[in-house]
């Protein structure tokens, strides 16, 4: 693996084709969304396995996780992994759909260490549980906060506001 940026000269279409071949049956709807971004959907049971294999991919390892964002679509929640490959200088977005009732997904912080704080933030703000996370505390709000404020159905609890 080389950390020189963009030394593997492929474009997003080529990366999408490679990912489609290597992860047939796991990555769904692989598509090129922007000139440098490949988007794909992924079932939540396969996150751990696919993450490890993406990270160790031959020639173009997807070796960096820049952001985990969480979205509330009212019918379901979604976790979006924003990945980047230094070798190919291309981005990959993985969308993982989670049921509202039990939004649990495996942690990827052992694959990409930068996931640690992003997963804590997704738990803090959206209430997504990351199984196997080494330090599953809140990160932005105080530790005894009640609820997850970025959810659409969030109702503020008066106990969150001792200073009135």
């Amino acid at each position: 693996m080389s950390l020189q940026v963009g030394n593997v000269r492929i474009d997003a279409d080529e990366l999408a084709a490679r990912l489609g071949r290597a992860f047939a049956g796991e990555l769904m709807d692989v598509a090129v969304q922007e000139p440098d971004t490949v988007v794909a959907r992924l079932a939540r049971e396969k996150v751990k396995d696919v993450a490890r294999r993406l990270h160790d991919l031959d020639e173009t390892p997807i070796d960096s996780l820049t952001l985990i964002s969480s979205v509330d679509y009212v019918t379901h929640l979604e976790c979006v992994y924003h990945l980047y490959s230094y070798a190919a200088n291309l981005y990959v977005e993985l969308h993982v759909e989670l049921p509202r009732g039990r939004p649990v997904v495996a942690t990827v912080s052992d694959v990409w260490p930068s996931a640690d704080w992003h997963e804590r933030e997704a738990w803090d703000m959206m209430g997504i549980v990351f199984e196997g996370h080494p330090d599953p505390r809140r990160i932005l709000l105080k530790d005894d906060w009640i609820g997850h404020p970025l959810r659409k159905d969030y109702v503020d609890d008066v106990r969150n506001h001792p200073y009135v």
Partner: protein, 215 residues
């Protein structure tokens, strides 16, 4: 106190004995001792305020800007910003106070030595400002600590901060050793923390220090 016969001739009856053995009651009303001491202490205090830099958000940039050469807070003798509460007597709360920061702010305020003052700088620290409805915002730092001067603005310009500091100087100059009962309470009796009030501290002009014992 050495009082010569020469001096005693110019003093009203009975004062000489009381100057020699002053009783606590002598400090309840202004007299030659308290007013002179007030003058000296208030002059010193109001012209050497050590602010505690408590920048929480964008207002802090204006607070810093007022410290640099263009606006130059040193003109008012308030330039010695300190990073520790124990060396400060003025807390400039510049920015949004959120629920996680509020207990920390209260604790730092309690670590400051008396007499101490608080300036609430900007709309956020005064009332919550643009984030009034935010789920994590305390709607005004006066919910946590007593505030002496409020500076409106989003953010207030450095001139506004200076104006607030001059107001504070005027407030400091009204302090007196005497008349603790004349000092107006900072809050009404219906304030929720009224039960927790620590009594007036008479030696410093009865500045009322109100603390909530439990956050």
């Amino acid at each position: 106190m050495a009082l010569t016969d020469e001096v005693k001739r110019y003093l009203p009856d009975g004062i000489a004995a009381r100057l020699k053995y002053p009783k606590l009651a002598d400090f309840e009303r202004p007299n030659v001792i308290t007013t002179t001491a007030d003058l000296v202490f208030n002059w010193a205090r109001s012209h050497s305020v050590f602010p505690f830099q408590y920048g929480l958000a964008c207002c802090a940039i204006e607070m810093l800007s007022s410290g640099f050469a263009r606006y130059d807070i040193a003109r008012y003798g308030m330039e010695v910003f300190r990073p520790t509460p124990r060396q400060c007597d003025l807390m400039i709360v510049a920015g949004t106070v959120n629920e996680k920061m509020a207990p920390v702010l209260l604790r730092l305020y309690e670590q400051m030595a008396e007499p101490k003052w608080v300036i609430s700088m900007g709309a956020c620290a005064t009332s919550g400002g643009p984030f009034y409805d935010g789920y994590n915002v305390v709607n005004g730092v006066d919910k946590v600590v007593p505030v002496d001067v409020y500076i409106p603005g989003c953010p207030p310009r450095p001139e506004a901060l200076f104006d607030g500091m001059l107001q504070l100087q005027r407030k400091i100059q009204q302090l007196t050793f005497a008349r603790p009962e004349k000092v107006e309470p900072l809050y009404g009796a219906d304030a929720p923390w009224h039960a927790d009030v620590i009594g007036p501290q008479a030696q410093f002009g009865g500045r009322v220090s109100k603390k909530r014992l439990t956050p």
